[in-house]
Every structure is written in structure tokens, then in C-alpha cells.
Amino acid sequence: MRNIFTKIGLIGLILLTGILTVSAQESTTLQFMKGMPQSALTNPALHNDSSKVVIGLPGLSGISFGFNSDFAIHDLIHKGTGMLKDSDVWDIENFHGKLKSTNSVELNTSIPLLFLGFRNKKSFFSLGITEKVVAQVTFDKSLVTFIKDGNAPYIGQNFDLGKIGINTFGYREYAFGYSNEFLKDKLTIGVKAKFLSGEAAFHTERMNMKVETAADQSYLNLSTDMDINISAPVTVKYDENDYFDGMNGDNFKAGDYLNQKGNSGMAFDFGAVYKLTPKITLSGSIIDLGKISFKKNLISMKHTNTYKWDGVDFSNSVDDSKGDYVDPSDLFDNETDKMKDSFKPKKSEFGAESFDMTLPTKIFLGGTYEVNKIFNVGLLDCIYKNGDVSRNTITASGNAQLCKFFSLSGSYSNISGSSNVGLGMAMRLGAMQLYFVSDNVLALNDLTKTENTNFRFGMNFLFGRN
């Protein structure tokens, strides 16, 4: 009795602390982890668990968070030295040095609402309903260069601040999976059809900025080119001159948002697993090949603008007896208003064009070698592509089923040049399985220094395990 309460308390504590932590994108450590039904998330043909029935309850079967960035927070903010050793200081110089020509910050999260899988002879059927959010911000290094250096070093040039991309969308995934064994169980092919219902999206088709500083410094030319699409339960507000004046979300209702209909899409997962030899298994999959067409609550804005600043003209602000005298304070106000109006989109630049959001696609290629009955080693290459951002992760893992109810995996991943040590654990308590997996456990100790981390935690109910 006391032991049961101890277990429940510990489990609850782990759950609680797990929910409070930041976690990662799709885990590469997860794929070859033994006894994990969630391995099918990375390859619909891969079933590392032999249970006949797998049930995932809402919110419990696998909450995942993923964070990927081309830089770490520590690159930008870190402890100071000397008199500032007790403070956190900004280090733009260092941050700038760490940037690539194009940089991204991504956040992916998923919250399962329901998962059901069952095995029938050689087939496996699954049904999953999951809430997912994908967020990505991209920017070019030249933007930070400009902020750091100012425009003085670029006199006579039309400095391109690069592209800025903000792509984020939330959707509900209704996934139907099927896999079957062929060739005397040597080959398993799986497919998952996902019906996607988009809830909201923000997509920058194009957002560019340039700053031209005249060679004689007589003017600055600020040019912007924006093409933004939004699908959200908000309306655009305009001022009395029909300029953009903000968004109105007063009519937002969470229920309407979550039950949004009309933004539909399809995605597919394809996977195959082939036992080359009794000890060597090869696998390959492509995940989230698809898109969502957003057609409801649309706001599209195309705004191209050039603003030339050549100083405030005081010609009519010197002699206040003249009829065309303008007060100097009004001059600045007028110029500021002119600049604001210049960059503010007009009502005529808004529309309601439908747009598509492509899901981040992952390609997993790998294989395992069974060292013995309880331990194998795996090697996996994950190619991740989301818009212009692509990332390659190579993971080497060791996966052990230590006993009937406990499996452990350790991994080493190189994610676009950064090294990460991953860990996965699954523990079975009767029909209930608790699991945790992360591709970068060391990052958990100091997230400010990490560029990539993910975390998946959950609970499954497994029945009829072989």
C-alpha cells in the first residue's frame, strides 16, 4: 500500500515536473527505442512494441516540445564579468559572430488528444488525434549586422537586411495508420494518412527590408516588401484614413478556434522497415508530407513601400510671419506621421487570399544492429525541412530492453554541427507505460546554452504485449 502511494507520488511528481519543462522536436532517439509505440511517429512501419492494443489518453500519451535554433540564448545573454559578474549582460558581438547567413528559431509542440492502435496478425492499425503547433522565425545575419554596426559603414550602399520569416500555425491532426508485414515478415510497410484541420496560421510569404544610405549622406531610403497571410479569428482595424490600426480579437472564442472548420489539409507518412539480416534492420520513412490550405478567417496583406528620409525641411519653419509657416515641432510630428503612414498598410492592400502551410517534413533513414536479445545499436539520419530551413541530424543510439518493463536508450546526435547526448526511458507498470525521451538531456541542465533540445513525455496503456 505504502509502495503504491510512493509510486503514484513519484509518478505525479515526474509528470508535474515533466509538464513544466521545455522539450524538443521529434526525437531521433525515440525511433529505435525498444518497447515504444511512439516509434511509429517517426516511421509508420516501425513498431518497437508488440502490444496488441495501445491506448493513449488525452494529454497523457505524449506531450512533446521541440526547440531548435541556430544560436543559443547564451550567445546573446550571459553572465557578466568584473562588476557585472552578478548580472546578465547582452553580448551582441558574440551573438553576431555565432550567426549563420540565414538563421532560424523553431518551436514545435504537440499534445495528443487520443491515440488508439491495435494489431491484427501482421497488420497494425492506428488512430490518433493530436493538437500541433509549429512556429518558426527566420532572419538573415545581415539584419543583426545592421543593428550592430549601424548604417555608417555602408554609406553609398543599398544594404539588404535580408528576409524575415515568421511562419506559425496550429492544427489538429487526425491520423489513420496502417502497416503490414510482407516477405515473410522481413518487410514492413506502413502508411499514415493524416487529415489536417487548421486552426490558425501566420505566414510571411515575403518580408524584406533594405536601407540605402546615399553616398553623400543626403538621404536614407527605407524599402520594405511584405506579403503576409493570416488565418485567425481576428479582424483588421483601420483608422479614419483607412490605414492599418491593429487587430481586433474581441470576438475570439477558444471553442471556435479549436473547432475551426474549413482550413483542411492532408499529409502522409510513409515508412518501410526491412530486416536485412536477423541482426541488421534497415528503416526509412518520410513523415508529414503534406500541407494545409487555409481558407477561413483569412487576412492577406501585400505591402511594398519605399520611404525616403532626407531630413526635416526647415525652410518654412524659420520665419513665423509667413503664411506657410510650419512650427518645428509640427515638422517632426508630420514627418513621423508620414513615416508611420508610409509603413502602415492601407486598407486597399488587404485581402483575403487563401494560402497553404506546408508541414515540416522529416526523412528518417537508418538501421539497427542487434547486438544481443536485449541490446541493439542504431544509426539514424534525420533530414528535417521546414520552408527554407533544413537540418540534418545524425544519431547513434544504444537501445536496451533491460527487463520486461524497462527499456533504456542512450544516444549521441549531431544536429547541424552541435553535439547532443540523448536519453530515453520507458517503464511499464502493468498495462501503463511511462516514458521519457530527449535528444539532448545535457541541455536540460542549462537551456541557455543549447541550440537544440526536445522532450517527449507520456503515458501509454499497452495491452496484449507479446
Binding site: W90, A152, V318, D319, S321, F406
Partner: protein, 694 residues
């Protein structure tokens, strides 16, 4: 044993889960300093302005002071002070408010009675009764026609009484004529001699003799009465009566036949006597009355009165009654001499003299301060005998009251007007803002004199200017002649007297500059010369016209100056500049103004009255080029940088005000003249290059 791995895994899971932390990032300890120091270049301001725009803005509280020539566009400081000095012209001379003019006592002179005439008819009957021999006893032949026999009577005197003269009882005649007329109504020629005899005076008046007067004939004899004293009691004393008779003819003897003697006195002038005066006009009398002015030296030739009242009064020592018609021929109202009729003894009613002209110069011997008069006495016919003496007098008095003079001409004598010390302040805002001096090449000080006084005068006037440091400079203008109107009808003479660099110290006067008080004083000296003042060339004065002097300074901005400083203080909030590490202001200008301008900033704390720091003095505008030959201006393009160093910006952040000081120099380091044209342009652009600290 089985439980141990489970327990260990749970602990490991718990550890891993809880080790996910961001404790190394405490946003509460995150520094506000971004450690970002971009260098920014941006155009700050442009201006394409004229010099006139700048000047106008610097002097916007007294716009009228700085103007531009409408033709050339040359900028000038124009200062005008109307009525710098005013003088009440009525204080120039003292004028009487009333005058009493008296004519001398005047003898009335002779009066005239009416012409008188009495007759004495002597009939034949009376002759027979009074003459010896009864005229040959002709009475006995009455009614008969006979030859009238010759008769001769030669005495003794036979007296025939005559009726007395009716118009006098006794007179002394200065003049007169006695006419004796014999009318023979006898039928025989007669010769009569006799004497008209004054019974009272017992004197012969006239001896008459008529010879051989034919029947029905008349004969007259005149006699002068000049100087005679007569009474009205007279008789005719016959001394001779002869007739040759009618022989050979016969005549009807009518005893009523007569001869008639008529005694007529005419044109009598009585110098004394008791008589009945007929209505007559006595001889006109004339005279001169003298005007008395308080100014001893004033010789008035004429005047026009604004107002005044004239009354006449006469006094009369005789018993005559009548009236006096008096005329003042040189006091004219509407061109008509003033006249009045007053009783011989009495007063006239008041005569309004408003607008009357008085000519004091009609007497060639003394052509000033006098007015002539004439009067005639109209004597009424007396109803009774009155005693009269021609030396009895009448006296005229003329009284002028409530006198107010409008204008006067004459010789005013030597007069002076002391211009008491006065003071004014030019109050030119632009001058108040400068330190240092500048020399204008052609400044002028104009006195606009409004003078109604028609008398030559010399004016000695001086001005003394001070500046804020109480240094002073005197103008020292040359004395000048007061502009004078041509004549009394010309009104006020307005003329401008100009002081420039050739006749005064005005260049140094303005170079002070006169930012403090300007004091003035002077003297106007009239008639100090030797030219005589005559009626043909009089002094004159319109007492209603004002005397005033306006002052106008005309200061064209053609100047030489070196480092003339303009200062202005602006409040700032130092913390607004926290993010600026250094700043360069790059001024690119095409300057059409022929002045070099440098600028220096002083950072001050007005609370502690301390200057925290001062920037380097830097040129911001390069002077336009001036052609030495024709003074034409060629704009110059230049680029100058005004730098605020780190130290300057630190000082800026500590201060609450900035004192902007601009230093202005004319071309060639202040040795050339800069002409400031209102149309000169300055095209300016300012670019800021700044390192900011975010």
C-alpha cells in the same frame, strides 16, 4: 531487487526532469545596457532659406525695426521714434490776453448852425415917417401919379429894426458869409447905404451900399463873417438914401411900395457860441493806437486772432449829442475793417474778432505794434440852444479782451528753445542678443523736423548712446540750420536733416552698439544772425501748428565685423542624450551670405550657475565671396563639421541648458565689408553621424 531498478529510474527521471532549468538566465538581473554601439548616419535637416527668413525669425518681436529696401533688397535696421521732441509753440512768445487802446482826446471842432436869413421891408409909408422931409412929402400924393421928385438922405442914421436870427443867440464864427440883398420894389431908382449893426455886441456887422438900384431890381452884396462874433440881435442903420426921382416920368404913388433888405448868413462855422446845432457830420478824425506785447523785443507786423472781443467806449465833454462812427481800418474781419457806431458818450456792443486780421505795420514811421483808427462824429440837431466850444473833446477807448492769437508775423527778437535732456531706448531685439561690435559703412541718423516757426535758427543737438556695459559714445553732429516754412500760409515745414559719417560720429555711435539708453539735449537759437527782419521778410508763427522732431535711424547692413557673437540659451534635458556617445554634425551649405559663422556650445547648469564644459569653436558656414570691384556676391559651397566629443556629450548630459554662441565675421577675417541682402540664400543640409550607445 526488481524494485531497486524501478526506484532508481524514477529518481533518475525526476532528476532529469528537474534539471531542465533556465536558472542561469535571471531576467531580473538582465542589464538594461544592450552593449550595442551602432554608428548611425542620417540626414537631420535641410533648409533653403533666405537671409530675410533668418533675420525675421531673430527679430520677431519688433518686426518694424528690421526692414529691407523694396528696390535693392538691402537689409536695414530702421528705427523710428516719432515725436522724439515736441515743443508747445505757444510757449515761444508771450502774448497778451487783453489790450486797452486809447485814442488821444480829440477836439470836436467847429459846428455849423443852419443857414439863417432875415429880411426887413421898408415901405414908402415908413420912409415918409422916418426919413427927414418925409421924402418930399410924397405921402400926400398917395394914389396919384406924379413925378417922383429926387430925394437925398444922408443922415443922421435912421435905424430900422430887424428880426433876430433864430438859430443862435450869440456865436463866434470861424467862418461864414453874410449876403445882403436889396430888392427895390419902389417905382424909382434908389441908392442905399447903411450898416447891419449887432445891437448886443454893439458892433457893425457889415456896411452895405447899393447904388442906383432900379425899380424891380435886386442887388446882392456878400460880406465875410470869418472871425466875427455875432449875436442874433441886429438892426439896419440907414445912412444914406437917395433917389433921382422918376422925372420926367410919372409914377403912381403907392405908399406900400417898398424896398426889402434880406440878410442871409451861410456856411457858418461856429467855434463857440450858444446856438441850435443842426444835424451835421463833424470832420473826420484819425489817430494811432499802440499795442503792447509782453515780449519787449517783439515787433508785431500782423496777427490773426483765433478769438477776441472788441469794445469801444467814448467820452464827450460837449453838450452835443450824436454818434461816433469809428473804423479800425487795419483790423479786418473777412477782409472788412472793423467798424462800430457808438453814442457820442457811451459803449459799443462787443464785436467778435475771431478770425480777424490785425495789421500793425500800416504806419511807415513805426511799422509795428500799432493800429490806426478813424472816426467821424455825427451830431444830432439840437432842439434847444446849447453852449458849445469847438475845443471841447471826445475820447475813444478800444478794449480787446479774451485774446487768443492764431498766428503772428513780425520781428520776434532773439529767442531760444532749450531742448531739455530726453532719453529713449532703441530696443532692437537683435542688437540685444549680440556681444562685440560691428561697423556699418553707411549708417544714417535722420531728424525729421516739423517746424511752424518762421524764424531762422541754428540748432545745436547731441546724442549720447550707451550699451549694456555702460560704455558711451557721443554722436557729435554738426550744428545745422532749422528748416523754416516759406511763409505763414505754407504751414509747417517738414524737412529731414541727415547725420552721416561725414558730419557726425555715427559710425562709432552705432558700432557701440546702442543697446542701452540714448540721451539727447540741445538748443535752438532764433534770429542769431544779422539779417534785418522786415515786413517783407518777417518772422512768423502759427501758434496752432506743432513743433516736433522725429528721429529715424537708417542702418543698412553693410558691415565689417570680426567674431561678433550672438548667444541664445535653450533648456535641455541632459538625460535625453544618454544614448549618444559621439556626434558629428556635418553641415553642407551653399552660402550666399558674405559672413563666416562659427559656433560654440557651452553646457551649463542654471541651477548652480556653473558652466560644466564648452565645446570647441567650429566653423559651420563659410562666407560667400565678395567681389571687391562691384561688391557682387558669389555663393560658396562648403562642408564643415561640428563635432561633439565624448567629453562634450558627458558635459551635455550633466547640464540643463545649452548656450549656443555664434560668431560672425565679415569676409577676409573681418577686414572686408559684408553687404546683407535680404534675398541672399543659404541652402543648408545637416547630416548627423553619431555613435549611439544602446
Amino acid at each position: 531487487m526488481k524494485k531497486s531498478p524501478l526506484f532508481l529510474c524514477l529518481v533518475l527521471l525526476l532528476f532529469l526532469a528537474n534539471s531542465c532549468n533556465l536558472d542561469s538566465l535571471d531576467f531580473n538581473k538582465l542589464s538594461d545596457d544592450l552593449n550595442l554601439n551602432p554608428e548611425v548616419v542620417a540626414p537631420l535637416a535641410t533648409a533653403d532659406i533666405t537671409v530675410w527668413d533668418l533675420i525675421h525669425s531673430a527679430n520677431n518681436n519688433n518686426d518694424d525695426v528690421i526692414t529691407k529696401d523694396p528696390t535693392t533688397g538691402l537689409v536695414k535696421i530702421v528705427y523710428k521714434q516719432d515725436n522724439l521732441y515736441t515743443y508747445n509753440v505757444r510757449d515761444f512768445l508771450d502774448f497778451p490776453t487783453q489790450q486797452s487802446l486809447s485814442a488821444d482826446n480829440k477836439a470836436l471842432g467847429e459846428v455849423s448852425p443852419s443857414d439863417v436869413s432875415v429880411s426887413r421891408k421898408v415901405t414908402l409909408q415908413e420912409m415918409t415917417e422916418t426919413l427927414p422931409g418925409a421924402v418930399n412929402n410924397v405921402a400926400a400924393f398917395s394914389g396919384q401919379t406924379i413925378i417922383f421928385q429926387p430925394y437925398s438922405f444922408t443922415g443922421p442914421t435912421v435905424i430900422y429894426g430887424v428880426n433876430p436870427f433864430s438859430d443862435f443867440t450869440s456865436v463866434t464864427l470861424s467862418k461864414g458869409t453874410l449876403e445882403v440883398k436889396l430888392e427895390n420894389k419902389l417905382k424909382i431908382p434908389i441908392t442905399i447905404e447903411g450898416i447891419l449893426y449887432d445891437k448886443t455886441k454893439q458892433a457893425n456887422i457889415a456896411s452895405v451900399a447899393f447904388a442906383n438900384i432900379q425899380p424891380s431890381s435886386t442887388s446882392t452884396q456878400p460880406f465875410t463873417l470869418d472871425g466875427k462874433q455875432l449875436s442874433n440881435q441886429i438892426e439896419f442903420r440907414l445912412t444914406k438914401f437917395t433917389t433921382p426921382g422918376s422925372n420926367p416920368g410919372t409914377v403912381l404913388i403907392d405908399l406900400q411900395d417898398y424896398f426889402n433888405m434880406t440878410f442871409s448868413m451861410k456856411d457858418l462855422k461856429v467855434s463857440a457860441g450858444n446856438l441850435m446845432v443842426k444835424a451835421q457830420t463833424l470832420d473826420e478824425s484819425k489817430g494811432i493806437m499802440s499795442f503792447s506785447f509782453p515780449e519787449a523785443d517783439l515787433k508785431a507786423f500782423s496777427t490773426v486772432l483765433k478769438k477776441g472781443t472788441l469794445t469801444f467806449k467814448s467820452t464827450n465833454t460837449s453838450n452835443l449829442t450824436g454818434s461816433i462812427n469809428i473804423t479800425l481800418p487795419e483790423i479786418k474781419k473777412n477782409g472788412t475793417p472793423v467798424t462800430a457806431t457808438i453814442p457820442l458818450t457811451g459803449n459799443s456792443s462787443s464785436i467778435d474778432l475771431a478770425g480777424a486780421n490785425i495789421n500793425f505795420a500800416s504806419d511807415a514811421t513805426k511799422p509795428y505794434n500799432q493800429v490806426p483808427y478813424t472816426y467821424t462824429v455825427q451830431v444830432n440837431k439840437s432842439s434847444t440852444y446849447i453852449d458849445y466850444v469847438s475845443t471841447q473833446t471826445i475820447k475813444m477807448e478800444v478794449t480787446l479782451t479774451n485774446l487768443d492769437f492764431k498766428s503772428i508775423s513780425g520781428d520776434f527778437g532773439k529767442q531760444k528753445i532749450n531742448i531739455a535732456q530726453g532719453v529713449f531706448d532703441m530696443n532692437v531685439e537683435m542688437l540685444d542678443k549680440i556681444n562685440g561690435s560691428f561697423k556699418l559703412t553707411d549708417p544714417k541718423l535722420n531728424l525729421i523736423i516739423h517746424n511752424p516757426i518762421g524764424a531762422p535758427a541754428t540748432v545745436n543737438l547731441d546724442f549720447s548712446a550707451t550699451n549694456k556695459k555702460n560704455e558711451s559714445v557721443a554722436l557729435k553732429p554738426n550744428p545745422f540750420n532749422l528748416p523754416v516754412p516759406a511763409d505763414i500760409n505754407s504751414g509747417t515745414k517738414t524737412e529731414t536733416v541727415t547725420f552721416n559719417k561725414s558730419n557726425s560720429n555715427i559710425v562709432n555711435f552705432i558700432a557701440l552698439p546702442p543697446t542701452g539708453k540714448i540721451t539727447y539735449s540741445g538748443l535752438v537759437d532764433f534770429n542769431s544772425g544779422t539779417t534785418p527782419i522786415t515786413a517783407a521778410n518777417p518772422n512768423f508763427l502759427d501758434l496752432d501748428a506743432p513743433f516736433s522732431i522725429d528721429l529715424a535711424m537708417d542702418l543698412p547692413l553693410q558691415l565689417q565685423t570680426k567674431d561678433l557673437a550672438f548667444s541664445d540659451t535653450t533648456k535641455i534635458t541632459g538625460s535625453d542624450y544618454d544614448k549618444i556617445e559621439t556626434a558629428d554634425l556635418v553641415l553642407t551649405a551653399t552660402n550666399g551670405l558674405p559672413l563666416d559663422i562659427d559656433i560654440q556650445l557651452a553646457f551649463v547648469d542654471t541651477n548652480t550657475h556653473k558652466q560644466i564644459g564648452v565645446s570647441t569653436k567650429s566653423k559651420i558656414l563659410t562666407s560667400a565671396q565678395v567681389n571687391a570691384t562691384d561688391n557682387s556676391i558669389t555663393p560658396v559651397k562648403s562642408t564643415n563639421t561640428f563635432t561633439l566629443t565624448k567629453t562634450d556629450l558627458e558635459n551635455l548630459r550633466k547640464s540643463n541648458s545649452i548656450v549656443f554662441t555664434g560668431f560672425v565675421s565679415s569676409p577676409s577675417a573681418g577686414t572686408s565689408v559684408a553687404t546683407i541682402w535680404s534675398t541672399s540664400k543659404i541652402a543648408l543640409s545637416v547630416v548627423i553621424k553619431s555613435k549611439v550607445n544602446l
